[in-house]
């Protein structure tokens, strides 16, 4: 009965969402507050119903109710409890329900944030959000129903895809979905502003926390997914330019541009139309990502989700929301009041430069992802666009952006002083050059670009630190004064410094991967294999039995030169229900570096094929992302009222130009 209650709750939620989409909108257009106040009530009701539905599905998985079709297809009675729960969203139907759950959760949060939102904006936003909810609830119910029943119930399930039986599945999709879906709120805000025809600093202030929240979670979700692929797939790589990864990178890039442009909008009341467009594009890219992953237009490591049947439905949703909002934009945007004017050398101009570069980078990823699909559709030729394309297009766009980032960070609002800014980043630049030179001297004959990349990363980290340092030390004297200045600095300033330093850390990690080395060999007991700084010696291979798998575990001794480190265990598992093998890479973390062992096939003569990597500073790749997300979180907690104040009052000689 619980299952059926969950099913009914989902159908009921669709009805409530229809009301949420229609009534508040009517209220806004008629200036009727009573109708508008239905919005929050409907959003909260809708969330409660979907939550009930999700809870019912979780209970079906936990109790191994094999009369539910998705439970049979994705779960097994011998799974440990945690994987029974994660199996809920380890498949198409359940993950779409999780998507809708998060969507309605955001709706409920908007409904509850009564004090920070103007009532009119809130009603419009909830209506737009209700429309998105209707579309996705209909999609779940009509094409991907997680509550379909089976009679008679089979004796046991078919188990979850073994690659997904990992803690990564407990963390990665929820984080990613909060990110994706969080941008639906920004989108709803943009649509509401367009319908209403009013957009100002109040709007920017209202949108800012939601954008930051979505961005923080998307950052963490992408980083977590990357680390998961790194240790689970056993290839030793952490980013494959796989279309599914690109699908998450595109909204991230657009979202990054968005959080920067909303700052300009809040502080300077400018860049309005562009910000609205970005908000629409960001969620459109999220939807595009959903389409790419869920429709089955491509086969990739995420192909567990593919089903061509559903493609058309999602394509319909995509066309309606992207096309509809862009049409609305074309119609209403010219009516919006243009923003203020600003000088070419100023923080806001620097942020425009940032937006241009990021938008271009996003476009290159977009082309690289969609071009092969379109080509295949038109000509039937299958081509794959891989790292060479992105190295040749994405990287050249990103590097100049990162080079000017420290400059923009120190420029003042309204009227900046380029020479002064250059002086302020000079110290960081010199430090970066020194580090790069030292590395070139030290690693003679190694990859050429790696030291330069590390130098760039050091430049970013150092300039972020120096910038915050200067603001703390500044003109103050004495520890007491410095401390109080550090406390007094807005948290968003700290957030900026952390986020930019995080970018630097990631850049260092990526650059350092040029020094990683790989060794492949067939080892028998007692034999050794060296890669980079590390050597492994095969100690033993023993069988082991898990709750729903059998494994052959290989133990290796690990040494770095004379230093003996903790032993590494790598294993090959066979999940019995699906008779499907997986590899579990053995990883030893040594400072920020890792030694990585993946097992290959067992050989007839008793040896086992082994791939062994030395990955210097690899952890920085993800640590940088975590630091970025932490910076975003710090900024999120800063609810000050912002207004740009020029740093120095200079004569008004600067050339003034329109913002858009």
């Amino acid at each position: 009965m619980i299952v059926e209650i969950g099913h009914f709750a989902l159908a009921l939620a669709l009805g409530v969402a229809v009301v949420q989409a229609l009534v508040p909108l009517w209220g806004v257009s008629r200036q009727d507050t009573a109708l508008a106040s239905v919005g929050p009530a409907a959003a909260i009701t809708c969330f409660l119903l979907v939550a009930l539905s999700f809870a019912a599905l979780v209970s079906a998985y936990v109790r191994s109710d094999f009369s539910v079709e998705t439970v049979v297809a994705n779960s097994h009675s011998t799974q440990p409890l945690i994987y029974k729960i994660t199996s809920v969203w380890g498949n198409h139907e359940g993950s779409m329900l999780l998507w809708v759950l998060i969507l309605t959760l955001f709706g409920a949060l908007v409904a509850l944030s009564r004090n920070s939102l103007p009532m009119r904006l809130r009603a419009g936003t909830l209506a737009a959000q209700g429309l998105v909810t209707v579309a996705f609830l209909a999609f779940v119910l009509l094409t991907s129903n997680p509550f379909a029943r089976l009679d008679p119930a089979p004796a046991d399930g078919q188990d979850l895809n073994p690659i997904l039986q990992d803690l990564g599945l407990a963390i990665h999709p929820p984080l990613l979905y909060v990110g994706y879906v969080g941008f639906s709120i920004t989108y709803a805000f943009a649509v509401a502003a367009l319908i209403d025809g009013r957009i100002d600093a109040v709007w920017a202030r209202a949108v800012r926390p939601w954008t930051l929240l979505a961005w923080v979670f998307l950052t963490l979700g992408i980083a977590m997914g990357s680390y998961w692929a790194y240790y689970e797939l056993g290839w030793g790589g952490w980013w494959f330019w796989d279309p599914v990864e690109n699908a998450s990178l595109m909204p991230w890039l657009a979202g990054t541009a968005l959080i920067h442009s909303t700052v300009v909008m809040e502080k300077r009341d400018a860049l309005k139309v562009w910000t609205i467009l970005l908000a629409i594009l960001t969620f459109s890219l999220s939807l595009l990502g959903t389409f790419i992953v869920r429709s089955g237009v491509l086969t990739s490591v995420h192909s567990f989700a593919s089903d061509p049947q559903r493609g058309l439905f999602i394509l319909g949703i995509l066309v309606f929301f992207v096309g509809g909002s862009l049409a609305l934009f074309a119609w209403r945007a010219p009516l919006l009041r243009q923003g203020g004017l600003f000088a070419p050398v100023s923080r806001e101009s620097a942020l425009v430069v940032n937006n241009l570069f990021i938008a271009t980078a996003c476009a290159t990823v977009f082309i690289g992802t969609l071009y092969p699909l379109v080509l295949e559709m038109i000509t039937g030729d299958k081509i794959s666009v891989g790292p060479p394309f992105f190295n040749a297009t994405f990287v050249p766009v990103l590097v100049p952006l990162l080079l000017v980032l420290p400059l923009g960070q120190t420029l003042a609002w309204k009227r900046g002083d380029l020479l002064g800014a250059a002086q302020r980043v000079l110290a960081a630049f010199i430090l970066a050059i020194l580090v790069a030179l030292a590395l070139i001297a030290f690693s003679r004959g190694g990859p050429v670009l790696a030291p330069l990349g590390v130098g760039l990363g050091v430049f970013l980290v150092a300039s972020a630190l120096f910038d915050i340092g200067e603001r703390v030390v500044g003109r103050a004297s004495g520890v007491q004064a410095m401390f109080s200045r550090a406390i007094g600095l807005p948290r968003s300033a700290w957030g900026t410094a952390f986020a930019h330093a995080g970018v630097g850390l990631t850049v260092i990690g990526i650059a350092a991967s040029a020094w990683s080395s790989e060794a492949i060999g067939v080892l028998k007991q007692g034999e050794s294999l060296s890669s980079g700084r590390y050597t492994i010696t095969l100690d033993s291979i023993t069988p082991r039995t898990g709750p729903n798998f059998r494994a052959d575990v290989a133990r290796f001794k690990l040494a770095a030169g004379d230093r003996v480190l903790a032993p590494i265990e790598a294993s090959k598992r066979v999940y019995t229900a699906r008779a499907m093998p997986t590899t579990e890479a053995g990883i030893h973390t040594d400072g920020l570096s890792q030694a990585y062992v993946a097992l290959g096939e067992a050989q007839a003569d008793g040896g086992i094929a082994v791939r062994f990597y030395d990955k210097p500073l690899i952890l920085l790749v993800w640590l940088g992302a975590v630091v970025m997300a932490f910076g975003g979180g710090l900024s999120l907690t800063d609810r000050r009222f912002r207004l740009a104040a020029p740093r120095r009052a200079q004569p008004r000689a600067a050339i003034v130009q329109p913002a858009e």
Partner: protein, 368 residues
Amino acid sequence: MLIWIIFAAMTGAAVFALLWPLGRRSPDAFADTADAKSLYRAQLGEIDRDLGRGLLGAVEADAARAEAARRLLRTAEGEPELAGESEPALRRRRAASALALSCVPLLALLLYGALGSPSHPDQPLSARLQSVPSQQDFELALARIETHLAANPSDGRGWAVIAPVYLRQGRFDDAARAFAAAIRHDGTSADRLAGLGEARTFAAGGVVTGEALQAFSEAVALDAKNPRARFFLAVAKEQDGDNDAAVAALRALLADAPPDAGWTGMVQQRLESLAPGSTAGSTIASLPAADQQAAIRGMVDGLAERLKQGGGTLPEWTRLIRSQLVLGNRPAAIEAIATARQRLGQDAEAVAQLDALAGELNLREPQP
């Protein structure tokens, strides 16, 4: 019934939550301009605080104040006219209430009615395992043992339990594997070796192959009296064309049989078919293997034909079903079960036994 009461309560609660704000007194107009004004006032306050903390110089603070004041003035320009009159507002509320009252229950019922299965109870695994054994639980138990064995392939006892079940179900290759695994992990015994031989024999379409013969010989070496092994050794002799030796072996088997042995009838039958004068058996036995198969098939087909004409007792049907399965003709066995169920429909007990047989032999129609 209970579930419909719950659905009605859920619908009622949802609709009430939507109607509630419509019934309350709400502010006469959107307070948005006030929002904008308060934002800029708050900004002015923030500037003063920053000035106090020394984060902002006096000159910068003045500039910022001027900016905030400029924006504050601008918000005052576009004050929207207020909506006031109450008669249309009242009608709008009624329309919205009607929408909520109709759209929510209708959509939910329509969708759930098309997609849901309200009469389908939950079937959590723990409850199914505790419920009264029925035919389906035989499969459940079998599946549990299979899962257990998949995870613990060295559990010889488990294999020993499941092997005869496979044999009865006609899954002869699985049965042979299971017997072999039981012998490997839990030690050998005459019964297990004989079972292994039987499984191999049936897997080869009823011919005692060299491998099967070896198993039977080892079984007899362990326990000279093992009836099953001795029976199949006799069949092997018969298939070699040595009818006399076969008859002698079967006679010896009968002589050793305990009085309550259930298998004497079958040995007797075989013996009669071999005895001089009996036509069917001996002729079949003297044929080459392929023809033997055809001859047996002919007999089974004859039985099938006769039962098709009408009548037939439960034992006859059972024999036909089992024979079809042994001959590897699964569809015919399934068809026979269906016909038998139709024919014996009056007799509830017979139908129950047929169902049990179907479950045991894994012959239930493919699940929808």
